[in-house]
Symmetry: C2
Amino acid sequence: MTFFTAVIIMIDVMEKSAATIKDIARISGYGVGTVSRVLNGSPLVRDETRKRIMAVARKLNYRPNKVAKMLVTGRFSQSTIAILLPKITHRFSMEIVAGIYSRLNELGYNLLVFNIGKKREEVFEHIRYSHFSGLIVLLNPLRPEEKSMLKAENAHFVYLDFHDRNENSIFFDNHLGGGYAAAYLEEKGCKRVVFIGDLAKTVQREERVEGFKSGLRERGMDLIDELYIPIDEKESYRVTRDLITRRRIDGIFFYSDDLALGGLKAKRDLGSDIRIIGYDDIQAAGYVGLSTVRQDSNVLGRLGAEAIVEIVKGEKLRAEDLPIYKCLKPQLVDRGS
Amino acid sequence: MTFFTAVIIMIDVMEKSAATIKDIARISGYGVGTVSRVLNGSPLVRDETRKRIMAVARKLNYRPNKVAKMLVTGRFSQSTIAILLPKITHRFSMEIVAGIYSRLNELGYNLLVFNIGKKREEVFEHIRYSHFSGLIVLLNPLRPEEKSMLKAENAHFVYLDFHDRNENSIFFDNHLGGGYAAAYLEEKGCKRVVFIGDLAKTVQREERVEGFKSGLRERGMDLIDELYIPIDEKESYRVTRDLITRRRIDGIFFYSDDLALGGLKAKRDLGSDIRIIGYDDIQAAGYVGLSTVRQDSNVLGRLGAEAIVEIVKGEKLRAEDLPIYKCLKPQLVDRGS
DNA sequence: CTGAAAGCGCTTACAG
DNA sequence: CTGAAAGCGCTTACAG
């Protein structure tokens, strides 16, 4: 008895790697089949046996290997869709995620969330060794080696709010939206305007800026400056205040509502009549009365969820309509800011 | 050659279940080892062989079985934490999720999201056959059979914003918060107040109401009515407008900010001087100037993430400090509403 | 370069 | 009631 206990403790200490059903069988003196039955609550075992085996299992702090169980039973959740978020996320991205989630939920799929962290490679290792049926890539491009990894696994993916002619993409027209911003500022009588954007140089930003600039050109308005700052309400508050007090300008187009929120606060605190427009139409924009270029995050998210599920289920696989390439239009929302 | 093609097509059509490496081996005439090497891009294969095998793989639309690969390589992402959301979610729940997510992210864990849908049993089947290390159960109790399923899998879980003496729980003190609401309304000079809550009868609601009532009693204030309505801003707008116009009351305590938002709008539209207080302090509350009882969703989420990770890593397993049972305090936020 | 075999941790008929 | 064996789909030394 003491020896018996001693053996168990030794093993408990030695075995750094998790205990298996085999260990339990060996130590308890039963066969693996019996152990398996006990662990799964089969009624076909003696009570005595059950107790003995359970005791050993507890002692070893046994945790069944789900992967092995999945393989043998063939029952594993095929209904998980993964999403890959960019390193820095605006509130807008989170609203897209909410849209994806709600549609996925209706379709009976679970959501697995990845995030491009410091070590991009590590994240892709995780992705590689995780179990999911399809991937939604949000707002940023995949590198060639990442794509080929996915191809090798024959794992499907769809870009959301990013576009690549050769891949499934659902996205907003940023050039058009930039133009809307110019039109808005013109309508409010602005002549000398500034653009304030995120530090991160993204395709979305470039397209939006380009659309804005060509809009200004058409209207004979002047782009006095372009500023690039971190996504931080306080920072944009400060920058806007400086602009209003030190420079002769009458309108600002912010790359995103996150940024514009700080700017609007500065304008109001100073009682300035400068005109401000943001981008995205996040929830807060409605509450504070910020004019913006609306991108319907909910629609985008839901479309993305539907697309990846269709692809994964192979409903589109043999059709000519792959890759999916869908461009959505933004809308101008005038709240008088 | 035609025969060859015919065979492939037949198989392609017949095999409803996915093609395996064995199928490719059989059809291509090579061994499974070679097929595996090709599929994994090993350089130790003739080019000719590679092409032939790849052709068959494509024809069969081969998708590697990740589960089998995981089992044999032993490389599968152990760093996934799952959360289980209640059927109906307030915005507050979503803010908790954001907190969980951000902390999990820092700790290098992925997030898998489940949601109690129509068929509760089905969700638990999914949970059972999904691979994750620990589970965070948000805002609602597990049933006995669900707990025993988790126990059988030796899967750890922690309740967040729900409490049970026998399980790991991190939660807010609702009784205290209800008292704060009463104190707020008294301070604003209210005498005749109403409580408006969600239809769903939850522990949280009961505790909050009880705290509110005993707060009123201490202060000699009258609870004129208790109304229970669906979580819907329009609905709470309507109900509040009716209360203001038809009944002699001077204050309303809303179970959640989601509800209070509609009420505040009604108050302002009518120019009423009724006092309104909500609960949670969701983002929108700050934007519209709603007084509320603040529960720090970010802190709660982050604590939950840390707790489950600690438990999963066994850092607390042999200590006496299990189960974790931590009660957080809410705070009163006076925005003058 | 390629095949045959062993094995990952588990379940499940099949015999006793 | 219990054990021995086959097998889930894959990888990986080990021989050729």
